[in-house]
């Protein structure tokens, strides 16, 4: 059975996930998204994985949520509050969501996963460091290259071409 901390975290995560998609203003939506990401970090702490939880807080709440907030502020003011949706599409989406929840939930509850509990000690985070440096070092290097190329690609994409010559002409 789930305990109180788990239930509170679950309500916070799911509630702010719904709020992030349904709140009228995109700014409040991105703050609600921070709540979802923080709730997931709380679940990581419950699962005895403090290293992943810290990483989640640093990367998601510290950088991604702030990046999204800045992008929202770059967009025109009317577009932040506007909400265009096809109502029929919306009902179809809600139906799809409920079908997925019920079907996947029935599969999980019907399987043997329901009873799995563990008394074993949690994995020490030093083991994760060993994993990274002994077994997955090529993937680690590749990840660094991918991150660098993604940053360069994002900068190249978002560069403004129409203002480059203005400064030279003055």
């Amino acid at each position: 059975m789930a305990d109180a901390v788990f239930l509170a975290l679950a309500v916070m995560t799911i509630g702010s996930a719904i709020a992030a998609l349904e709140v009228r203003s995109l700014i409040y939506g991105s703050i609600a998204l921070m709540g979802t990401l923080g709730g997931i970090a709380g679940f990581f702490l419950l699962l005895d994985s403090p290293f992943v939880a810290m990483f989640q807080i640093a990367v998601y709440i510290g950088s991604i949520a702030v990046l999204i907030l800045f992008t929202v502020m770059l967009v025109r003011r009317q577009l932040i509050f506007i909400k265009i949706e096809d109502p029929r599409r919306r009902y179809a989406g809600i139906g799809l969501m409920l079908v997925m929840m019920i079907a996947l939930g029935a599969v999980i509850l019907g399987s043997g996963i329901k009873t799995i509990q563990t008394d074993e000690p949690p994995v020490d985070f030093r083991v994760i460091g060993e994993d990274f440096l002994i077994y997955y070092w090529p993937a680690l290097i590749l990840m660094g290259l991918i991150l660098a190329s993604a940053v360069i690609g994002a900068l190249t994409l978002a560069r403004r071409e129409d203002v480059t010559n203005d400064q030279h002409n003055e």
Binding site: L33, V52, T71, A139, A154
Partner: protein
């Protein structure tokens, strides 16, 4: 530990379903990015839950890789949204009709 594994997986399923709802219904590009983030987070929660209950360290390692790649994905996605906004003066994906620059 009093929580069973299925508790975490049910939260993950709920988050995944909400994310799929967002991707299929919303027309605002930034809100679609929110929904994609929720789906990625549901996957990470599954990885760490399985890693805790097996128990095994590799699920946490994969979750760390996944979080780092998601950061890159969001950076590129937001850059694309900014380019599209500059071109069409809108973030509604139904307005993004032509691929020409």
């Amino acid at each position: 530990m009093t929580n069973t594994m299925s508790d975490f997986i049910i939260v993950s399923i709920a988050l995944l379903a909400i994310g799929i709802y967002g991707v299929s219904v919303k027309r605002n590009a930034i809100r679609m990015l929110f929904a994609i983030e929720m789906i990625v987070n549901a996957a990470n929660l599954n990885l760490v839950a399985f890693a805790r209950f097996l128990p095994n360290s590799q699920g946490q390692t994969f979750a760390l890789f996944s979080i780092a790649i998601a950061a890159a994905e969001v950076g590129v996605g937001l850059a694309l949204i900014i380019v599209a906004y500059r071109m069409y003066k809108n973030v509604d994906i139904a307005e993004f009709r032509s691929l020409k620059g």
